[in-house]
Amino acid sequence: MKPLVSGWILALLIFSPGAVSPAQSDATPSRKGVEFFEQHIRPLLAKHCYECHSARKQKREGGLLLDSQSGWEVGGENGPALVPGDVDASLLIRAVRYTDDDIQMPPNRALPAEAVARLEQWVRMGAPDPRTNDSAESDETFADPSDPIAGRDHWAFQPLSIPQPPTVEDAEWPRRSLDRFVLARLEAEKLQPAPDANPRDLVRRLYFQLIGLPPTPQQIEAFLHDPRPDAVEHLVDELLDSPRYGERWGRHWLDLARFADSNGLDENFLFREAWRYRNWVIDAVNNDMPYDRFLLEQIAGDLLPYDSVEQRDRQRMGTGFMVVGPKVLLGNDERRQRMEVADEQIDTIGRAILGQTLGCCRCHDHKFDPFPTKDYYALAGILTSTTVMERRHMLNQQRVMERLVGIGSDGEARDGAYEKFWREFPEAKEKADQAKSAWESLKKGDEKAVATLLEKNKDAVAEIAADSSKPMQQRITAQKSLAEKLAAVIANRPPIPPRAMIATDAEDPADEAVRISGEFDDLGDQVSRGFLQVLTHDQVEIPEDQSGRLQLSRWLTDVEHGAGHLAARVLANRIWHHLIGRGIVRTVDNFGRAGEVPSHPELLDYLASELINSGWSIKSLVREIAISRTNLMSSAHNETAYSVDPENRLLWKFNRRRLDPESLRDAMLAAGGLLDLAPMESTVWNLNDQATGVGKHPRRRTDFPCRSVYLPVIRNDLPELFEVFDFANPQATTGGRPETTVAIQGLYLLNAEMVMDAAEATARRILDRAPEKRFDLLFSLILNSEPTSAEREELESFVQQTRDRLQDDGDEKAEIHAWTMTCHALFASSRFQFLE
């Protein structure tokens, strides 16, 4: 704060308290007065004064509060700030006029003349103020929640603090700095962290956390027998280097990117090329592409320079992010569709990257968060200046569909030829039909029909055929040859060329108008393209001939002048959420005022700073958290801690977690030796353009032995296991998947063929072993642990009894079936489904 503050106090000192009598303003201000206050004065005070003069901010510079009537009545350390009715006697007015060197407010910049005039008018009116003495501004009555300047006070929009890891009593416990933040909170509550997990639980945990797969019996043994003190670090590094890592952590991003292989909504047209974006994400995560670059390529990859066609294509594929959203495709007004597409993109970018619900301000200023409608349309202008839809061939028609571009050096030519073929197809087909018909008419000697056709389309009748002076046979031959030629043209359908879904800049980038109540055809004021004011600390110019996507993606991670600090907080929190099971901010997609506040604010800022300092390396932060003591704790229950903190907000133990459907399936297939780890490209090639058609249309396949991340994600027709076990809803950004426990999950595990097939394959592997080794292998393969003697006995007796019963029923394969039922039971057990 500038020394002007002291000037303010000085001024108060100079003024004798007696000179300004604490005149009581009208006890019940008139309605007109209140209206004037609400409309002009409250927003003004909130925007320019509350930061230093409000109870809510716990700021009382110069002893003055301006967020209640009594605040200015009592005034600062030496007297009232206003004299109702007397403009010139009012200190506040003198300060805002900026004419007196000793007293100038607000300290950094004078108010616009209009605002000063309003304040003067208010004082002349007798300073009507409906804010009673005990109702100083609270969050609920906050003048204008969408005010972007006042909104900078919200914790999530403040610059990152650089917290020092606190000192702790138990200096032995922390392995990494981040552990100190966790331990300090526990110590403050007189709680103990849980002991370390046993090594078998730990190795299982790390494998599922980092690569989404169970460790093999050999991998378990290798870890258990690793004598190095930093065995955990070695294991974590090995897993982070595995290509399997990107398949797990790339999927976390795909949840946010609402990735799918089909449109969903009204018409579930297939996204035949979406898999390229899916694999682009997996590769980028495996290569630890810095997060700022990762976003840049997804939002504006098509606009970046490149050295080779491969690089151009790769960068373009990233913009699949902008394209894969669901859209209302048929019967939709193109102008409405354009606004809907932009809305979907704003919503996705807002929630996935900034943890903000920007979609709310499409129709009105945000009700909780500092985003006026104007900000929404500033972003909308960028996105409506971006093309993600085009008219092209789809399902036998020219339709407005997702934009595709040919890839490879001849991609454009092949795509062009393909589209041209289909554009011309209806006409070509008609011509071919006519030519054939003319040929048949000639054979029948029906000159009249030939003449009619000739009149309709002279190109459909060969010149010689049309010439009645020529011999009939010659005419027939000529027409036959033309008909065959034309038939060949339409029969020779080009194969679908390799293409990618991408965004490009529109031909005429332009600003958008606000839409009144969000109605696409009800235009309000024009808004310059730009970003969220609350997070914009420096004006960025968007060149007239560009959409502004390039500037937008840079702004998102700009730590100096843009949203970088918020983006870092949101991402660090997501990484914590995926590893630890819950976010430091549990509402991972909502960092707004309606979201939760962080349980460990300093830890969050620390992690976010680490992320930025590492050059936005996601892998580094994953590693840092994975090897922390916090991540190595056991999930053991502790009654004392439970009674203090039943939700484990303070992290006194590891959160026990359910396997997600991808891990569940991959682990079952892996136990049976059925999982093929080779990455897949498209898994929807068997589908028609209608991804969920009825009748003869083929349905999505889920019988590939590949990892689950490659299975088709058809909106409204997910693989059953995904549907049942809470896969991300692919229609919208999902930072935290729901965790449900419902009967259909039980039914699935008890009765689904896939589960029983995996159980049988696992049983066969076990039966290959000598009898005395079988129970160890059973436990190792499925639960990644070893049986206690009681467990062994229980299972032994189950196998034996089941075998006997099956034999009594005349089952010749009683042995394998008994073991299959046992494996099946373990797959269905909570021990398999939960991660300790």
């Binding site: 965790e739 449900t740 419902v742 039914l747 699935y748 009765n751 689904a752 909570s830």
Partner: protein, 472 residues
């Protein structure tokens, strides 16, 4: 297996311990996310029967969905002038439109007559249903948005099209819970797979337990439809039972070791419910216990009524068993862009007798008074011609009807212009219908909200007016 067998009280919370067979509810509810669990501890389960906001006229809904869009001017909204001017061009000004022309009119080939004491107009295509005219409350002034099926289907089922929202049945399940602990609260029989597919019976952000359980899909004969994973052909029931005992024993030991863990508790309870569902669902779905006269009444065993007859009969059985919201869908067969006459004769014949039988059967069993039957589609069809002898999509005006559950029987509500193009009197928007439907169930559409992503959502968004005149 006895209910509660695996519930060892040591670590279960009191409400679980004491709720005897009611725990199935908790299981099913349990965990529809932490939030729902919090809710379940407070109320006894997300599907635990809940008191409505207001006095309820109906306890459950059966929605008969005619996928594709039946033609209102051929079924319930007779238009003499349309017939007189058939073949002429409809001028926009005649129906209050800015457009110069609206297309060429095509009259209805069907005869209409008045039925019942109320003198309700119904076309000759519904001879069976006509006998129940005094049970119906026909709304001729429906209107909605969405000129293509997909958008209109989503608006019909969820009130929204460009955003994913819970379906009406999911809201009802959320608002009222289930009356049967072994069955879901929301069942959809033969749902469409296209035009939004599962989204039309999904729960969106509501807890998963409120999503419909689907039986078959529209293109499959209902006789072949199954609930997936309900049965296991590999192991005999005795072995399955002993296997489940092993699973639950492992789970219980896990829980004992883990201490208080609601999710393991929920898992244990969910297996109980799964086991019950395996026997309850097939019982309800079996038509073996139905008398021959009942089967005949529904047209089961004869064509063309067999399939829809089975669907309606199933709906009655689910209604009887306490399911809250039951939807029955036709196949995608009402979309007559060509040959509307031939098509409507064929489609009406499939559903007329079964629908009449359903009303009759519900009435006889005393169920009609608290079951609201709703009939309709995503939109109607144009009074103007398409492809020579067909009609196009028409969301601007169409007919839906209700019966039973406290609706004003014998009422024909709302009128359209002389051609059935736009409503002119008492228009009822889809949002209004949703608000009214909830109101009949004792739920106020402005109060039935769910907090998600930082704000309260409701079925009618910011729209919807209750049409009190439709209710008795």
């Amino acid at each position: 297996m006895q209910c509660g067998q695996f519930l060892h009280s040591a670590t279960r919370r009191d409400f679980l311990r004491n709720s005897a067979c009611g725990f199935g509810q908790v299981a099913l509810a349990a965990m529809a996310g932490q939030k729902a669990f919090a809710e379940s501890t407070a109320t006894g389960g997300a599907l635990f029967p809940k008191a409505p906001h207001l006095a309820a006229r109906a306890k459950r809904v059966i929605f008969l969905f005619m996928w594709g869009g039946p033609s209102h001017v051929d079924l319930f909204d007779p238009k003499p002038r349309l017939n007189q001017e058939s073949g002429k061009t409809l001028a926009g000004k005649d129906v209050g439109s800015d457009r110069e022309t609206m297309g060429e009119l095509i009259g209805s080939p069907f005869r209409f007559s008045q039925h019942g004491e109320s003198g309700m107009w119904i076309s000759e295509l519904f001879p069976h249903l006509s006998q129940h005219a005094d049970k119906l409350c026909v709304i001729n002034s429906m209107h909605t948005e969405g000129r293509a099926h997909g958008e209109a289907l989503l608006r019909l089922h969820t009130g929204q099209a460009n955003l994913v929202r819970p379906s009406v049945g999911a809201w009802v399940s959320y608002g009222l819970g289930s009356e049967n602990e072994n069955l879901p609260a929301f069942i959809t029989i033969s749902p469409p797979r296209g035009h939004g597919g599962v989204q039309n019976y999904g729960c969106a952000f509501l807890p998963a337990v409120h999503q419909a359980t689907a039986i078959g899909s529209a293109e499959l004969p209902i006789a072949e439809a199954k609930v997936s994973n309900l049965a296991n052909d590999r192991w005999n029931p005795k072995l399955q039972k002993s296997q489940l005992e092993l699973i639950q024993s492992i789970n219980q030991k896990h829980l004992n070791q883990a201490g208080a863990d609601q999710r393991i508790e929920g898992l244990i309870a969910s297996y109980e419910l799964a086991y019950h569902m395996q026997s309850t669902m097939p019982q309800v779905m079996s038509l073996n216990d139905e008398s021959k006269s009942t089967l005949d009444m529904y047209g089961v065993g004869s064509e063309p009524t067999d399939n829809f007859g089975r669907q309606c009969l199933l709906a009655r059985k689910f209604a009887e068993s306490g399911v809250r919201y039951i939807q029955v869908s036709t196949n995608y067969t009402w979309d007559h862009h060509q040959q509307v006459e031939k098509g409507h004769i064929a489609e009406s014949a499939k559903v007329d007798q079964p629908i009449a039988a359903l009303l009759e059967d519900l009435d006889r069993r005393g169920l009609l008074e608290d079951t609201l039957v709703l009939w309709g589609a995503e939109f109607g069809r144009t009074p103007t011609v398409e492809r020579g002898d067909g009609r196009g999509h028409h969301p601007d005006a169409f007919t839906m009807w209700m019966a039973g559950g406290g609706v004003r029987a014998g009422l024909t509500w709302g009128t359209t212009d002389d051609f059935g193009y736009y409503p002119v009197d008492n228009p009822v928007h889809m949002h209004d219908l949703h608000a009214t439907l909830l109101y009949a169930l004792g739920l106020h559409h402005e109060r039935l909200t769910y907090r998600h992503a930082g704000r309260d959502f409701r079925l009618t968004d910011v729209y919807g007016n209750i049409v009190h005149e439709l209710l008795a």
